[in-house]
């Protein structure tokens, strides 16, 4: 694949990601937001492939699209009446939030582009990273790996405990 084709595909996925993320925050309909978030997650997964993080791209699709997005959709279904066709969310602080958006994004971009350039080490990640990820997980990062697994177990038990139904029917 030539450099030109790769560049065009990159810009397509970047536009998909940014536009669907903008639609998530600009539409009032909660269902539209959730489904637009699907395209954002797929676009980000494609960007991970461009960053030669293929394992992370698959994990992104499995965890975010298969897990978190389904959870969010369940949340939308639970907390809105199904009979209510317009599941709109109200907005507040629009002016302040627009200023915050412009300030944060502009400031971050200015600090990126005004800096004289990142020091390059001369080498980049190439090829598949599945092997290195497994090696690092079991050598340098084995303690964070175990800690995060215990955290996930505790969080899921806590979530199931919090969201359970009583026999009495209330909370």
């Amino acid at each position: 694949m030539s450099i030109q084709t790769t560049t065009v595909i990159f810009y397509l996925f970047a536009a998909l990601t940014v536009c669907s993320a903008a639609f998530v925050v600009l539409t009032r309909n909660v269902i539209y937001s959730a489904f637009s978030l699907l395209f954002t997650f797929f676009g980000v997964a494609a960007l991970y492939v461009f960053l030669s993080a293929d394992f992370l791209a698959v994990t992104q699709v499995v965890v975010y699209v298969g897990g978190i997005l389904v959870l969010l959709l369940f949340g939308v279904m639970f907390t809105n009446s199904i009979m209510n066709p317009s599941q709109k969310t109200e907005v507040s602080n629009t002016l302040a939030a627009s200023l915050l958006f412009l300030g944060v994004t502009g400031g971050v971009l200015y600090s990126f582009f005004a800096s004289p350039g990142w020091m390059s080490t001369g080498k980049t990640l190439q090829g598949s990273i599945v092997g290195p990820v497994g090696f690092e997980t079991m050598s340098r990062y084995v303690l964070p790996f175990e800690m995060v697994s215990i955290l996930l177990l505790a969080a899921l038990i806590g979530a199931a405990f919090l969201a359970r139904f009583d026999n009495k029917g209330n909370s």
Binding site: I3, T6, T7, T17, V18, A21, V24, V25, V30, S33, L37, V44, L47, Y48, F50, L51, A53, L56, T59, Q60, V63, Y64, G67, I68, L71, L72, F74, V76, T79, T89, E90, S92, N93, A97, S98, F101, L102, V104, T105, V108, L109, F112, T121, K123, L125, P132, V133, E136, R140, Y141, P144, V148, S149, L151, L152, A155, A159, L162, A163, S171
Partner: protein, 105 residues
């Protein structure tokens, strides 16, 4: 033109800055708690893109490993937050976060 046609670090940093801004916008403006959660997911994705971009152009594996841990913690956060939101809905019959200022009924 050379800047635009060769994909470099700055392209990824631009995308992640935009995602961060949109996520902050959603967290600040929306009154529905679920949409606030979606904004938090956008912010986490922006951080992940930054981690992976620096890892790619650094040649090391540190960013990749931390991006993996960020994904796991995002899953835990979504589960807990959804449980809390469902509890709020059961007690107050609404998920409007701008009206909730008490910790119990």
């Amino acid at each position: 033109m050379q800047q635009l046609t060769t994909i470099g670090l700055n392209h990824y940093l631009t995308i992640s800055a935009l995602l961060l801004g949109f996520g902050l916008f959603a967290v600040m403006t929306r009154k529905n708690a679920i949409v606030v959660l979606m904004g938090v997911e956008l912010i986490l994705n922006a951080a992940n893109i930054n981690f992976l971009a620096f890892s790619k152009y650094n040649g090391g594996m540190q960013g990749v490993m931390f991006a993996l841990f960020v994904i796991v913690i995002a899953a835990a956060e979504a589960a807990i937050a959804l449980a809390i939101v469902i509890n709020i809905f059961k007690i107050f019959k609404s998920v409007d976060v701008s009206k909730r200022d008490s910790l119990k009924e």
